[in-house]
């Protein structure tokens, strides 16, 4: 178990390092941040001074090494724009993003599991078709469009839920739907196909042959098997939620990392971009590790292999 954790952490560290190189290099290609920080009439000496201040006059490789060296000590540099430690800026925003992503994922799973199960049980029937089309709708509408429609209907027209903000459970409902609908179709497919496989398996046949009520077969004995493939993908979906948060956070004025990074990209605020993206990468790696560790809970076979 410990060995698994260590190995995954090691692999994760390599991935994060790789991600850091990519982010670092590409973001430097996006242009000079200093000109965005100074007024148009700033003298070149001032520009040069600021460049030196932020180390932007150093060779790229050296800048990267410095960045990594500092990052290891928890110093991601000061945001050019916010003039506060980028790390603090990101870490303060992180809980809100995790909360949103988790709620989005929860919403999608809460929708995908019943639809997937019912579709599999009623394969080819109208429940199957309607359920899958409903699930696919999420995959057919841009999240920001869904978000705007949700605000128009549930906030402005019906005034049931707040249009923006953060704090109470009611605040997270609309953003979580806008964020979580997209992967429902894919998750439904996973659950449905896993259920079809399981329902067609010998042990379910045996359960039937031994008189287990259909309700128990579907919702207990088959579902736990079918949950394994979905669970293995949850890390990837969580990452997708983090990515989706970039758009949804803006719509719902959600004080998260996504919005912060988007704005930082536009203002070439490299330290914030780097810290923001790296922390989403770390979240991805950690969530995958968590998933890896947790499907031993559902699938005992995996528990022993490790």
């Amino acid at each position: 178990m410990l060995a698994l954790v260590l190995r995954r952490l090691w692999q994760g560290a390599i991935s994060i390092l790789g991600a850091s190189v990519i982010i670092f290099v590409i973001s430097r290609l996006s242009g000079d941040p200093v000109v965005m920080l100074v007024p148009p009439d700033a003298p070149p000496s001032l520009i040069a001074e600021i460049r030196t201040q932020y180390g932007l006059d150093q060779p790229l490789v050296w800048q990267y090494l410095l960045f990594i060296g500092h990052a290891l000590t928890g110093d991601f540099g000061n945001s050019y724009r916010w003039q506060m430690p980028a790390l603090k800026l990101i870490l303060d925003r992180l809980p809100a993003t995790i909360q949103l992503a988790a709620c989005g994922l929860l919403f999608s799973v809460a929708l995908a599991v019943p639809i997937g199960v019912l579709s599999a049980v009623h394969r080819g029937g109208w429940i199957d078709r309607i359920g899958r089309i409903f699930a696919m709708l999420g995959q057919a509408m841009p999240a920001f469009w869904v978000g705007l429609l949700l605000i128009l209907v549930f906030a402005v027209q019906l005034n049931w839920l707040p249009a923006f903000g953060h704090g109470t459970p009611a605040h997270v409902v609309l953003p979580a739907i806008a964020l979580g609908w997209y992967p429902v179709a894919a998750q439904t497919r996973i659950v449905r196909s896993a259920m079809l496989d399981v329902l067609d398996s010998d042990h379910i046949r045996l359960s039937r042959a031994l008189g287990t009520p259909e309700r128990l077969i579907v919702w207990k004995y088959a579902l736990r098997n079918a949950a394994v493939p979905l669970l293995t993908m949850l890390g990837v979906y969580f990452a997708a939620m983090l990515g989706g948060a970039f758009v949804v956070e803006t719509i719902f004025a959600w004080p998260g990392v996504g919005r912060t990074v988007v704005e930082a990209v536009f203002s070439r605020d490299f330290p914030v971009v780097q810290a923001g993206v790296l922390f989403t990468s770390i979240l991805f790696v950690l969530s995958n590790l968590l998933v890896d560790l947790s499907y031993g809970l559902v699938d005992p076979r995996i528990r022993d292999v490790r």
Binding site: L37, P43, W82, Q83, F164, G165, H166, R259, F266
Partner: protein, 518 residues
């Protein structure tokens, strides 16, 4: 000492309407679209910063709701000439205190200037280059000595901010950045980045007449237009900033809602490349053709929903404004004729760079429409869209890429704004390493001379005349770009709940100098 101007306190505080003498109580929640990154005027790098620090910090002078300059923390001041060099003497208003209770003294202004001159802290240190010395005369009197004239110093409200020297030295820079202390009507309470800023009315505020009557102010950050509008409609906020242009008509009709619309400090124009030898825009006829080609009034009406004010070179209320200078009328036939006259009967193709930032509403659509008008008379635009960072990069003269066609550009120096400094950047010929013409595609010696002259002219009357002269030439020759419009902003609040009087300070309308609950 030869006094040039004394007092300038034409608009005295007594002339201001009396604020309600109500006690400060209750909480008001307002919604802003943009968010400041910094709470310290010294460190500010973007205009939006002032939406936030403008509530907590004050200058010696400021503009009143009629965009007139009035004395504020300065009780009086004068500009004199001493041995050919300008000197400004300021008397600070007695009884002004910082939020921590410390009285404001000359030392605080001296400290404020030192901070502004420190390039590590301030991105505007060069704006104080003309200042030679800061002399403290007594606690409430100080004197600024200049190396040479600085034409924009006075229009920039004497540049200085009251910064609490003792406090900052005590708590340290980091803590001060977290919890700023100023003299303004609002005291810092807490701030959550990307979410909200909480302020509290400062009980010891010196200005008993123009002050908020609500106790707590919560500024929510809601960048997405529709969401901000939804927040207002659902009652989550009672005051909304930057009503989307398309929604202004709807807001004007909303029950129980007051709106206020005013120009912002931004000045938009289309700039042409007139410094490359093969540019068709080197011919003034082509530039004039472009000026006649665009139906700016239609664009303002249709694309901007009337949230724009057409202007010629200098906007109303800004130093140098000339009511006799009129924008070129829309006349496509004349435009085509001019183009043919200039040797382009079939027109020509040109790259047209369009800014797509959300910072200015509908700027992208405005550009597309304007370029479509240009294409219609033969200046065939190949539109290239640029987001803000790429756009700034393109505009700079000192690094590639070169702007080789038309670009939508702008300058903004607050309200009422002064064109002097921006023109040095946009109209003066480019001189590498001197900060002149950094964003200019114009090369005109006559202009250069006039611009340098206004730069060092501090006497407002003389300066006004110079600015008008420049504007006339600029307009006639269509130099340094074709001025288009000044965007307007609409603010709305719930009439039944909010008493609000718009104050532009220090350059934008998002100021809660006088706000209260009904």
């Amino acid at each position: 000492m030869k006094p040039w101007i004394t007092g300038l306190a034409a608009a005295s505080l007594a002339a201001l309407p009396l604020a309600q003498g109500l006690a400060q109580s209750g909480t008001l929640t307002v919604g802003l679209g943009a968010e400041a990154t910094i709470m310290d005027p010294t460190r500010s790098s973007a205009g939006v910063d002032s939406y936030f620090f403008g509530q907590m910090f004050e200058q010696l002078l400021r503009t009143d709701p009629d965009l007139k300059q009035i004395n504020w923390l300065a009780e009086s001041w004068n500009l004199a000439d001493e041995g050919g060099k300008p000197v400004i003497t300021v008397k600070i208003r007695p009884g002004v205190t910082f939020h921590n209770g410390d009285p404001v003294t000359s030392a605080d202004f001296q400290y404020g200037m030192q901070r502004q001159q420190d390039p590590k802290l301030s991105r505007f240190s060069h704006l104080l280059n003309a200042v030679e010395a800061f002399e403290v005369i007594d606690d409430l009197t100080f004197r600024l000595r200049f190396k040479e004239g600085d034409g924009s110093f006075i229009t920039s409200n004497l540049h200085l901010w009251a910064m609490p020297k003792r406090h900052i030295e005590k708590v340290g820079e980091e803590e001060y950045q977290r919890a700023p202390v100023g003299t303004g009507p609002w005291k810092f309470v807490s701030r959550t980045v990307k979410e909200e800023l909480r302020l509290e009315a400062y009980e010891g505020y010196w200005n008993k007449q123009n002050r908020p009557t609500v106790k707590n102010l919560v500024i929510k950050i809601i960048p997405e237009d529709l969401t901000r509008v939804a927040a207002y409609k659902t009652g989550a906020i009672d005051w909304i900033d930057a009503v989307p242009p398309a929604a202004t008509a709807e807001f004007a009709k909303l029950e129980n809602t007051s709106t206020y619309t005013a120009v912002t400090g931004n000045n938009l124009f289309l700039n042409f490349n007139t410094h490359q030898p093969n540019s068709p825009f080197n011919d003034v006829r082509v530039r004039r053709a472009a000026a006649h080609a665009i139906d700016m009034d239609a664009i303002i009406k249709r694309v901007l929903f009337d949230q724009g004010e057409r202007y010629a070179e200098i906007g109303r209320g800004t130093p140098g404004y000339d009511p006799d200078l009129k924008p070129y009328p829309y006349d496509p036939r004349r435009a085509r004729a001019l183009l043919a006259e200039a040797g382009h009967p079939r027109g020509f193709e040109v790259p047209c760079y369009n800014l797509t930032t959300p910072r200015e509403p509908n700027i992208k659509e405005m550009g597309e429409a304007a370029y479509a008008y240009l294409s219609a008379i033969g200046i065939r635009c190949q539109i290239r869209q640029l987001e803000y960072g790429a756009w700034i990069n393109l505009g700079r003269r000192d690094a590639p890429p070169e702007m080789d066609g038309i670009v939508s550009w702008m300058w903004s120096h607050g309200l009422p704004g002064d064109p002097g400094t921006p023109w040095l950047g946009h109209l003066h010929s480019y001189q590498a390493g001197k900060g002149l013409g950094s964003y200019s595609y114009t090369d005109n010696a006559e202009m250069d001379a006039l611009l340098r002259q206004q730069q060092t002219t501090m006497d407002p009357v003389k300066r006004e005349a110079l600015l008008k002269q420049i504007a006339r030439i600029k307009h006639d020759q269509v130099l340094g770009g074709l001025t288009t419009y000044r965007p307007m902003v609409t603010i709305a609040w719930r009439t039944s709940k909010v008493a609000f009087k718009p104050w532009p300070s220090p350059g934008f309308w998002r100021n809660f100098q006088e706000i209260g609950l009904k």
